[in-house]
């Protein structure tokens, strides 16, 4: 991949629409070759970030770079593929023609167009519909076409804004495979999504954005934190509880549920045996890491309104 340094870097990036702050000092870094997920609730500013990166909107403050160039740099956009959240392509064109148009617009040498178009059609599973009019496509097929447009000519950076919003489970699985293939080729993927399980399955790093700024950023493992365990148990007293705490670490009690974090999952049989030995009955064990959804909700529970007027 050409160039060095991060694929995307922003510092104190701000965007105001009238009196509303869409972005409020957003700082994040996307390394080259990684799959990066930008998460956030509706109205958190995710799509605004994407538009600023591509120069479709102008920042009100702060700075940023994409592939080493300032935000919106025109020649750099030649190396970026983009699937908009509001994906819509010329309804009167054939799928193959839409892809050829984008080959032209992204200044791919004409001799490479046929191979690039065929590769994109194959990648998104539209070979059989290549000659069909886009206006006859379902939303899911249009989104597949948009994905093909974004991946045309093997760009260095692919920005996907909610890439599976119109897809069925099979389509979502295909998109995950496509993203993984892109990463293997060394392409940086910037994934903007609120579908947390999607992000959890494909992203190397994530940033959670709320109220227009990043509230958590890091490798997925770091964001999710240490593994823990939750046990639903009854029939033991406070003395037994203190003994468990001494053996396994601090306990958190919520009704019948006991929670320990951090907790080595290999110790689950020992924990169950200790509860039973103390006279308790174990009804359910939930061992492992917190899901991204739990972490996401925990982080957002501190938040308030989605947008704030400028004072």
């Amino acid at each position: 991949m050409a160039g060095s340094g991060p694929a995307v870097e922003t510092a104190d990036l701000a965007k105001r629409y009238g009196r509303v702050r869409a972005l409020d000092g957003l700082t994040m870094t996307v390394e080259r070759g990684e799959v990066f997920g930008l998460l956030g609730p509706n109205g958190a500013g995710k799509t605004t970030v994407v538009k600023l990166l591509l120069g479709l909107a102008r920042a009100s403050g702060g700075r940023g770079s994409v592939l080493g160039a300032p935000l919106g740099d025109r020649p750099t956009r030649q190396r970026i593929g983009y699937l908009p959240e509001l994906f819509r392509y010329q309804p009167w064109m054939r799928a193959r023609e839409v892809l050829a148009l984008h080959c032209d617009l992204s200044r791919l040498p004409r001799s490479e167009w046929p191979a690039a178009v065929d590769a994109a059609l194959d990648l998104v599973g539209l070979v059989d519909r290549a000659e069909d009019i886009v206006g006859t496509f379902s939303k899911g097929m249009q989104q597949r076409l948009g994905l093909g447009v974004a991946l045309l000519g093997a760009p260095d950076l692919v920005i996907l804004d909610e890439p599976t919003s119109a897809l069925d489970p099979v389509g979502r699985n295909d998109v995950r495979a496509i993203i993984r293939e892109a990463r293997e080729r060394g392409t940086t993927v910037f994934l903007n999504s609120h579908l947390l399980t999607e992000v959890e399955r494909v992203c190397d790093r994530v940033a959670i954005v709320d109220h227009g700024h990043v509230i958590e950023e890091g490798r997925l493992d770091d964001v999710l934190g240490d593994p823990g365990v939750r046990v639903q148990a009854t029939g033991f007293d406070e003395t037994a509880l203190a003994a468990l705490e001494r053996q396994f670490g601090a306990l958190r009690r919520d009704g019948d549920w006991l929670a320990i974090q951090p907790f080595d999952p290999s110790q689950v049989p020992d924990l169950v045996a200790a509860i039973v030995a103390a006279g308790g009955r174990v009804h359910e064990v939930d061992a492992g890491r917190r899901s991204l959804e739990e972490r996401f909700l925990a982080l957002l529970s501190k938040g308030g309104d989605r947008t704030e007027p400028v004072p």
Binding site: R88, Q90, R107
Partner: protein, 281 residues
């Protein structure tokens, strides 16, 4: 820019509306040509002189040209207005403008493509009508090229206005504003003529200013002049009321007005580029 212009022409060619319009145009040409021929035959049977017949036919041809000018202006407005506005509203522009193209290239490309479509339609409708009338009555206007040129230029004024407005307001609103401006400009032309005939200098000045502000009516007078036999101008010379008639022209638009119209189109295009550059997509 050329890519976008080609895309626009292909889009126009693929959309059914243009072909429907062309089919209706051919039907209109057939009907008006047949009607004019029938009227000329009737006049001959009634003993009208060839000069009188020529004057009648030329006036009918000018009325037919006005019909096509109106259709062309409306087509330009309602094709130009959504060209940018619908791309922005539907999201098509997101994928296009994220590519390494200048917004000015996108806008001027759209404009060039639409100008080509409008020019082809103006030429097709104008020459077909002139040809049909000539075939059925023997009447040939003195400056058919000039008339068709002004017909296309008038449509380009409407098209460019629609494009400018379409960068900021929804397509339907942009189209409606263009129709109103077209009507106002035409009325300003009538008012200017009437005011001059009655020596109402202040009203004439205001109406003239309005015609320069939006030059569609001034260009329409060029169409009339191109279709009008010189004889009619000679006969009508000295008749000031004639100048108030929107279907009559003593002289072609002056070179200063033609230059201004070209400058006006270029200026409007520059405003459209400026507006789109500042627009957040």
């Amino acid at each position: 820019m050329i890519t976008i212009a080609r895309l626009t022409i292909r889009e126009a060619a693929r959309r059914r509306i243009l072909w429907v319009l062309l089919a209706l145009t051919i039907v209109s040409v057939g009907l008006t040509g047949w009607g004019t021929g029938a009227l000329a035959g009737l006049a001959r049977a009634e003993g009208a002189t060839e000069l009188e017949i020529r004057i009648i036919v030329s006036q009918i041809l000018i009325l037919a040209a006005f019909m096509f000018s109106f259709i062309l202006a409306m087509t330009a407005a309602f094709v130009g207005a959504p060209a940018i506005a619908n791309d922005l509203e539907s999201g098509v522009a997101l994928a296009l403008l994220a590519r390494p193209i200048r917004r000015s290239d996108y806008l001027v490309g759209r404009w060039l493509g639409l100008v080509a479509v409008v020019a082809v339609y103006a030429a097709a409708s104008g020459f077909l009508e002139i040809g049909a009338v000539g075939l059925l009555t023997g009447h040939a206007p003195p400056e058919p090229l000039l008339a068709v040129g002004f017909l296309a230029a008038q449509a380009v004024v409407l098209l460019t206005t629609a494009l400018v407005l379409g960068t900021r307001i929804p397509a339907i609103a942009a189209g409606a504003v263009c129709v109103v401006l077209f009507g106002l400009s035409w009325m300003a032309g009538v008012f200017a003529g009437v005011a001059r005939a009655f020596d109402a200098d202040a009203l004439a000045a205001v109406s003239d200013a309005a015609r320069w502000l939006f030059p569609s009516d001034g260009l329409w007078r060029g169409v009339v002049f191109g279709l009008e036999p010189p004889l009619v101008a000679i006969v009508a010379s000295g008749n000031e009321i004639g100048e108030a008639n929107p279907f009559f022209a003593f002289a072609p638009p002056p070179p200063a007005f033609i230059a201004w119209s070209l400058l006006w189109i270029a200026g409007a295009l520059a405003v459209a580029v400026w507006s789109l550059e500042r627009r957040e997509v």
